[in-house]
Symmetry: C2
DNA sequence: ATCACAAATGAGAATAATTCTCATTAAAGC
DNA sequence: GCTTTAATGAGAATTATTCTCATTTGTGAT
């Protein structure tokens, strides 16, 4: 049983953060981190499991859930919910912005965000150290506005 | 079988919206709407079922899920996720703002929000008709900053 | 390099959450 | 009141998540 060396230029600083917090650096954890670093967007636990297994075949489902919980606690990832499809995970650095149509579920992503400046004010007001945010606007998309407005879907 | 008249001063305009969209006004729907109107915050499907049954005893679980889906489509309610506790539902008018601690999960609610003004710009930029938003900041709360920062929980 | 030990893991069982099925009921329009 | 058809409730079925526990494996100390 020599093997299982994932040959990854893995983001060293995340490893440091894990180690600093007293957690062991294990192949499944490296795999999950790598998957989320790489893809970064909207992967659910099942998809993360599958992609992690591509890197470390023995990875188990429970471990993926445990790792996601851990990484969430450490503020490295964050669950994000689009539609009613259960949680997906994204990197918890930076910001994430959605325009969500209540009627059809279409999602538009956008970048610029006034919330960035709000962060500072909130830090002093509430004493939080803010590391990321999520801003979602809900409404009706252009396509749904033209189609008969009283009929859902 | 005469009965089951829920004696509610139920918000007439929501009834209109349901009817206008071609849906029937039924006791379970009235009950669910009433529950969410009344409480407004952070109720999960189970809690909504229980409170709805207090208004209309026969209300079934599946109907609650179906009604929440419908009301979400109509933009009347919206799922909101705090921590890993699964969805809860709030009214989808107005805005909702959270400060969330990545470490302990504490949530601080706040009001003032620069996002309100962003809405207008986004409406013209993307053609969305925006009805509500959710803005969540993630970070570390004051309590967790003082306690040993490297240890989770 | 070997060792000791607690932390971490994986398999599968157990549980919880959500959706589906289908026979029955009851709103809405006439 | 009658008809039509959407909506409902009970429970089964399915999915998602968590738990259990025997085994493995990082890690820090020899
Ligand atoms: Mn996105
Ligand atoms: Mn809230
Ligand atoms: Zn739409
Ligand atoms: Zn905290």
């Amino acid at each position: 049983m020599r093997n299982h060396a994932i040959i990854l230029p893995m983001s060293t600083d995340l490893i440091q953060r894990l180690r600093a917090a007293g957690y062991k650096i294990t192949p499944p954890r490296l795999a999950v981190i790598e998957v989320i670093q790489r893809e970064g967007e909207h992967l659910n636990p099942q998809e993360i499991l599958e992609q992690a297994q591509a890197l470390h075949a023995q990875t188990g489902r429970a471990t993926v859930y445990r790792t996601l919980e851990l990484l969430t606690q450490l503020g490295i990832v964050r669950p994000i919910y689009v539609g009613d499809n259960g949680p997906t995970y994204i990197r918890a650095d930076g910001a994430h912005h959605h325009l969500v149509c209540s009627r059809c579920g279409r999602i538009v992503e956008f970048d610029a965000c006034a919330a960035d400046s709000m962060g500072c004010e909130l830090e002093s007001r509430f004493g939080f150290h803010i590391t990321s945010h999520l801003l979602e606007f809900y409404g009706i998309c252009p396509q749904c506005q033209t189609s008969d407005a009283s009929q859902s879907q």
